[in-house]
Symmetry: C2
Subunit: 433 residues, 2 copies
C-alpha cells in the first residue's frame, strides 16, 4: 500500500472502518459478546497457523540480532497464546460499558434528558512488536463498540497479519462487520493515520516514552497515553521504618521497567540518618544502584545525583535519593519534577497524608502503600487500555470506560425554546429521575 | 509586556498562577464561596469606575466604526453589570464540583481506593470583546478551584483591566491568592499562552469558528470548544405536521446566530409535498431565505442548494433543505456533513427515533423538540462553560464539571505489590464501598 498523508487506500480503509463502527455501535451486548467468543474460538482453531507465522517473525528477528527482551516480547508460544485467548473470554464476561445512563432528568413535562454511554467510533492503536497486544486490543474494541485500526511493531508483521486474518474470518460469521478490524503494516502509514482527524476518534500509542511523545506532538486526534512515569515516594518524619523499607523496595524493584515504579526517594531530614542506611542496604541486596544529593552522600555510600536525575525515568534498578527539610519541600519537588503519574507518602501522621493528597498534582496519590498498585487490573477495572497522565479525564489507569463517550438524548413532545425564553418564560422543572 | 513564545514575563505569570492554583485547590467550599461573594461586593462597589472604563472602550470602538452587534456586546451598561453580578452570586450557590467521590473501592483489607474530583489547575480563557464574560469566567474558575489566565477582545481592554483590578483587590481580602486571576492584553501573548503546555491545563476559546479552529490547530493543550455548529432537523414520513412546523421554525429562527440553530432541514420524500409548502411559508414569515435541492425546488419557491450548503453554518436566517428517500439516507447525510453538535428527528414512530438516536453521531440527539435546547442552562447545569463537539467527554454542553478532573487516592497500611503477584499471589477483594 502506498502510504502518505493523503493515501487514498488509507482513506478508504478509514471510511470503511467508520461505517463498520457505526453499525457495531448499534449492536446488542449479546451480539458483541458473541463476536468476542467467535474470535476466541477462531484463534484456538488457528493455533498452528499463528504459531508458525510468529516463528517466522522470530527467526527473521533473530537473524537480524534482536535483543533478548524484545525477542521475548515478540515470541508468541502456545502457552502465551492460550493465556491471551483466555483473556479474550474474560473480556466477554466484563460488564457492558455501553448504554449506561449517567444522567436522567426531566426538563419539563414530557421533555426528558438522558446522558447515555456510547462508543467513541474508530480507535487507532499503535503498539510494540508484541502480537498478543493485537488480540487484547481487538477484544476490548469490540466490547466497547469501536472499530480499530492497528499498527504493530514491524518485527511482528507476519504474526499480526495472520491474527488479523483469523479474527476477520471469525467475525464474518457474526453480526460484527470484519472491516471493524484493520491492520496497517508500514511505518509510513502511521503519519497518514495521525492526519485522519475526521475518521479516527482516539489514538492509543504504546511503546517508549519518545514514541508516545512523538505521537502526541504530531496529531490533533486525542491521544490516550503517557510519555513519562517519574514517580516518587516520600518518607515523612513520622514514617514507620518497616513500612518505609518494604514499600520502597517494592516500589523500586518489583518491576523496575514499569511506569509506576519510583525513580526518586524523598526523605525527611529528621529520619534520614536512621532510615537511609537500612533502606540502602535492602535496595542494594536487590541490585539497585543509588544516587544521592550531598546530604544523602554524607549518610550512605552512593553516586552523586543532580537535577538531571530528578527529571529522569530510569526504568531500571537505579534510584535517586534527596533529603528534604519538610513535607512542603517534598510536595514542591514532586510538583516540579514529577510526571503527574503516581506519588506516595509513608507516614503515621494522617494530617501529613491529607496535605500530600491535596497538594500533590498527580493521577494517583498514595499513603502507606506501593506506587506499583497504579494499574487497571489492580484497581479492579477488569482490563486496562492504558495509563493516562493528562489532567483531563480519563486520568490514571483507564479501563473500558476510556473507550466510550456519551450522547445526550432529549425526548420531547413538540417543545420549542421560545416557550422557555423572554418575558413570560416558562420555568424548567429540572427534576432528576 | 514583550510577548513571544519564550516571554519571561508570561512564564513568570503562568508560574505564579500555577502556585496560586495549587493553594486555591486546597481551600474549603466556604473559603471559595466567600471569595466569590467578595468579588460580587467589590464589583458592586466599583460600579462607577467599571462603567467609566467601559464607556471609554465604547467611545474608542465607535470612533473606529465598530459594527452595531459588536458594540452591543462590548457595552456594559449598569443593568447588564448588575445582572452579571447577580450571576456571580448564583455561582456561589451552585453545588461544589470539588471533592465528589465517583469510585470508592476496597482493594483489600485496609487498602482503599477513592476517585475524588479535584481542580484542573490553570485555565487559559480567550474570549470576545464582552466584558461580562470576564466576570462569569472568574467566578466559575474560583468555584472549581482553578486559576485563570484571561485574554479578552482588544476593544474591551480598558474594561477588562479595571474588572481584573477590582477582582484582585476583592480577593486580597479573602483566602484566595489574587494571582489566581490574570489578564493578558496583547494578541501576541495568545501564541505564548498556547505554547505553555506545562503550565496551562485547559484552553477555552470563545468567538468565531475560525478563531476556535485556529486555537485547536496551534496548541497541544486540551481545548474545550467547538469550531462548528451544523445542526440538522429530519422530518420523518411519520412526522406530525404541527410539530414539524413549530419545531423547524423555533430551531431556525429563535436565535439563528446560536450554534444549536439548524442549518439544514432533511425531509422524507413521502411527506415533502404536503409538509414543505406550509413550513416554507412559516419560515418566510420569520424572514428566512430558503435554499433547496432539485426536488425541493420542484415543490417550493427557493434558491438552489448544492454540496457547499450542506457544509455551511449560516449562523443567519438561511436554511438549506434536502429531500431524502429514507431515514437511513438522512442519518448518512448528518454523519457526513454534520458537526456532531445536535441533530433532531420529528416522528411519531418510536422505532425511527431509536434508530436515529443509535446511529447519529452527535453530542445531542433529539426527538420531537427543538435543537435550541442544547445548552447548559436548559440542561440544568447551572452555569455553562461551553459546548464541546469533540467525541471524548466532556461532550455537549459543559457545566462546572468540565473544569474539574479527579485523582485516585489509595490509602494502605504497608501493602506492597509483591504480595499480589506471582505464583502465590493474594487475590484482591475489589469490593465497592
Amino acid at each position: 500500500m502506498v502510504a502518505s498523508i493523503s493515501s487514498p487506500a488509507l482513506l478508504d480503509l478509514a471510511q470503511n472502518a467508520r461505517q463498520a463502527a457505526l453499525h457495531l455501535g448499534t449492536l446488542s451486548t449479546a451480539d458483541r459478546n458473541q463476536a468476542i467468543a467467535a474470535i476466541a474460538d477462531g484463534l484456538t482453531a488457528a493455533t498452528p497457523e499463528i504459531i508458525a507465522a510468529n516463528q517466522a517473525d522470530c527467526d527473521a528477528a533473530q537473524a537480524e540480532g534482536i535483543a533478548t527482551p524484545l525477542y521475548n516480547r515478540l515470541k508468541l508460544g502456545e502457552s502465551k497464546l492460550h493465556a491471551t485467548i483466555a483473556g479474550v473470554r474474560d473480556v466477554q464476561n466484563l460488564a457492558d460499558p455501553l448504554g449506561q445512563i449517567s444522567l436522567h432528568r426531566q426538563l419539563d413535562q414530557d421533555l426528558v434528558l438522558k446522558r447515555v454511554a456510547c462508543p467513541l467510533g474508530v480507535l487507532g492503536v499503535i503498539f510494540e512488536a508484541r502480537p498478543e497486544a493485537l488480540i487484547q486490543i481487538t477484544s476490548l474494541a469490540i466490547k466497547s463498540g469501536n472499530a480499530v485500526i492497528l499498527k504493530g511493531g514491524k518485527e511482528a508483521t507476519r504474526s499480526c497479519q495472520v491474527l488479523t486474518q483469523v479474527i476477520q474470518k471469525a467475525l464474518a460469521q457474526t453480526a460484527v462487520n470484519p472491516q471493524a478490524i484493520n491492520l496497517l503494516t508500514t511505518r509510513e502509514e502511521i503519519r497518514g493515520l495521525l492526519a485522519l482527524d475526521h475518521y479516527i476518534d482516539l489514538i492509543i500509542p504504546r511503546g517508549s516514552n519518545e514514541f508516545v511523545q512523538y505521537i502526541q506532538q504530531n496529531t490533533h486526534i486525542p491521544v490516550l497515553g503517557h510519555a513519562d512515569g517519574i514517580c516518587h515516594l516520600y518518607l515523612d518524619h513520622q514514617a514507620d521504618l518497616t513500612t518505609a523499607i518494604t514499600v520502597t523496595v517494592d516500589a523500586k524493584t518489583q518491576y523496575p521497567a514499569a511506569c509506576n515504579a519510583i525513580e526518586t526517594l524523598l526523605v525527611h531530614e529528621a529520619i534520614a540518618p536512621q532510615f537511609l542506611p537500612p533502606i540502602a542496604q535492602a535496595l542494594r541486596e536487590k541490585g539497585v544502584s543509588l544516587r544521592g544529593d550531598a546530604a544523602t552522600q554524607a549518610l550512605i555510600n552512593c553516586d552523586p545525583a543532580d537535577e538531571t536525575d530528578w527529571r529522569t525515568e530510569y526504568s531500571d534498578l537505579i534510584l535517586s535519593i534527596k533529603i528534604v527539610p519538610s513535607l512542603q519541600t517534598a510536595i514542591n519537588h514532586i510538583n516540579t519534577y514529577g510526571s503527574k503519574h503516581t506519588d506516595g507518602i509513608i507516614t503515621e501522621d494522617p494530617q501529613a497524608a491529607e496535605q500530600f493528597f491535596a497538594q500533590v498534582d498527580a493521577a494517583g496519590v498514595y499513603h502507606n502503600c506501593s506506587t506499583r498498585f497504579a494499574d487497571g487490573f489492580r484497581y479492579g477495572f477488569g482490563a486496562e487500555v492504558g495509563i493516562s497522565t493528562q489532567k483531563m479525564p480519563p486520568r490514571g489507569p483507564v479501563g473500558l470506560e476510556g473507550l466510550v463517550t456519551y450522547k445526550y438524548q432529549l425526548r420531547g413532545s413538540g417543545q420549542i425554546v421560545a416557550t422557555y425564553s423572554g418575558e413570560n418564560a416558562k420555568p424548567f422543572l429540572h427534576q432528576d429521575l
